[in-house]
Amino acid sequence: MIDQALRLARLHVPEQERAGFARDFARVLESFALLRELDVSGLEPLRTPSTRVDSLRDDRLEPALERERLLEIAPQAQDGFFAVPKTIGGER
């Protein structure tokens, strides 16, 4: 399971550290197991911690960021695009 979680999160943890990581992970899950024992029947789920209600914006244009500023903070740019390591084939 720890391998699956690391893969999904795209985290690289060296082999020798995985056992310790797995122990920490198990403790987190134990805490959740405690929560799971609570009787919450009759309670509405909290869907959002936000107190905002139906905050909608009007369909109006706001200025975009300047492209130079946007690409400045990217590790790499080319011809106005973000340049990233080659990834072929969509993942969606």
Binding site: Q4, L8, S55, L56, L61, A64, F82, A83, T87, E91
Partner: protein, 483 residues
């Protein structure tokens, strides 16, 4: 579209469709960047849609309205509350590492589309979500990312697996596109990617257990949907027929090779780790607000077609042609306000005007590009109805209307095409043509109607294009005294 191979006897095909459609808003779903196709890369990007830390999304009211309009036009139910969830995956076109979508409380459920064969294709759901950016892989050593599209509002309409043939899938998509266009929800321009489609397909032996489902992505035209389905159905049947088993997987359609290839198998199927997006409050909708949107829906294509047939007396065929787009349907109705002859008007639009669009080198390809107004065509049709101009003459005038900014009446005079309204003149031409053609006259009297053709030509020649062939025919028959 060519008729495709039917599903072979003894096999059943189960198809479901997922269609993404970009909403025609001014700005993006959660920020004020422009929702516009074709801008230079990364010029419509802000802190929100580029996924900068701390940037907060805020829902676009118009996107919600358009989504609801789509839902109601498709007969869906709108629950009083929906919410947004984060769908996680890693890809370079998704700056936040998750897409804001709707998981277990979508904007609406149910609804569907009726096909001509009576089948009702049910929709499981329609939800709102943001589009991803665009990655380009064929320009050098790196992949290049443009985030202009990131955050553009989408609706995703998911059908139940109710479709049984590629043709049904095609018909559903055409109808869906029409409804979304008529409702003003989206341009549905597949070339610009504002309508995109994924399909799920499985095959099974008649009466057998449900087959294993394969998903095909990357379908950017209706023709490709049909081609991909045909190919995939044949592939699966051949595989099972040879004793093999279909693998649950996602395949990509290669339009050039007209074949599908594996993209990922079940083992690397995604775990999207959905959870409620804490940045966005749930959306609550007052029932009377939903009702208001419903009452404001324009008349949809199926309803228009039914009205054209029932109230205007048009054929199903003509009604269908006229409602292919909202623009053509509106154009027809605008012209109809000026001439009380729906059938003639429909004939003119679907035959003479349509012929202009399909000519090689045509400058004009749709009604909204015509240099004249619906009123002008109505006037031309009226002139032809009154016999002021022959059908051939009216065609010449129509052509001239493309070139010159004059009304049909002026063009008729300018081109000398005013038909002789004078029956006496027509009779003189006909009598002249009859001279010396006793053999033909005898044939016509003997009931050989075909022989009449040999007389009509000479009369038209004498009249120099100012006589209506139908009127000539009647006059000739009267003069000959044929049975």
């Amino acid at each position: 579209m060519s008729a495709s191979k039917p599903v072979p006897d003894g096999w059943q095909v189960v198809i479901g469709l997922e269609t993404h459609c970009q909403l025609a808003t001014t700005s993006k779903l959660f920020c004020g960047c422009a929702n516009q196709f074709g801008a230079p890369p990364n010029t419509q990007v802000c802190a929100v849609c580029s996924g900068q830390p701390g940037a907060l999304p805020m829902l676009n009211r118009e996107a919600l309205e358009l989504g609801l309009r789509a839902a109601l036009a498709l007969g869906a139910r709108v629950p009083p509350r929906s919410k947004f969830d984060r769908k996680h995956y890693f890809y370079c076109d998704l700056p936040k590492g998750y897409q804001i979508s709707q998981y277990d409380e979508p904007m609406c459920t149910g609804g569907g589309i009726a096909l001509a064969n009576g089948k009702f294709v049910r929709l499981a759901r329609i939800h709102l979500e943001e589009d991803a950016g665009k990655a380009i892989h064929d320009r050098g050593a790196s992949s290049l990312v443009d985030l202009n599209r990131a955050g553009v509002p989408l609706i995703e309409a998911v059908t139940e697996p109710d479709l049984s043939t590629p043709q049904e899938a095609h018909e559903y998509l055409v109808a869906l596109k029409e409804i979304l266009q008529f409702a003003g929800v989206s341009e549905c321009d597949m070339e610009k990617g504002s309508l995109r489609c994924d399909v799920n397909v499985s095959v099974q032996r008649e009466g057998g257990a449900r087959g294993v489902k394969v998903e095909i992505k990357n379908l950017n035209s209706f023709a490709n949907v049909v081609a991909a389905l045909e190919h995939e159905i044949a592939r699966q049947i051949e595989l099972i027929g040879a004793g093999g088993a279909v693998q649950q997987e996602t395949r990509l359609f290669d339009a050039d090779a007209r074949a599908t290839r594996t993209m990922r198998t079940k083992e690397d199927a995604h775990d999207y780790r959905y959870f409620p997006d804490p940045d966005l409050p749930p959306v609550t909708l007052a029932p009377d607000h939903v009702e208001l949107i419903r009452t404001r829906l324009p008349e949809l294509p199926a309803a228009r077609r039914a009205r054209y047939v029932a109230a205007l007396g048009l054929s199903e065929y003509d009604a269908r042609l006229l409602t292919q787009s909202r623009a053509s349907s509106d154009w027809f109705e605008a012209a109809l306000r000026h001439v009380d002859a729906p059938k003639e008007l429909a004939n003119w639009l679907n035959n003479e005007v349509a012929a202009l669009f399909s000519e090689p080198g045509a400058q004009v390809r749709s009604l909204d590009e015509l240099p004249f107004k619906p009123f002008d065509l109505a006037e031309l049709v009226e002139l032809a109805r009154q016999g002021r101009v022959t059908r051939a003459g009216a065609r010449t005038i129509l052509r001239a209307m493309l070139e010159r900014p004059s009304g049909p009446r002026e063009l008729m005079r300018a081109l000398g095409l005013e038909a002789s309204a004078d029956a006496a003149q027509l009779e003189r031409w006909c009598r002249e043509a009859l001279v010396g053609r006793e053999k033909i006259i005898a044939d016509v009297r003997a009931g050989q109607d075909k022989a009449l053709g040999a007389l009509i030509g000479p009369v038209l020649k004498l009249a120099g294009g100012k006589a209506d062939p139908l009127a000539v025919r009647e006059m000739l028959l009267r003069l000959i005294g044929a049975p």
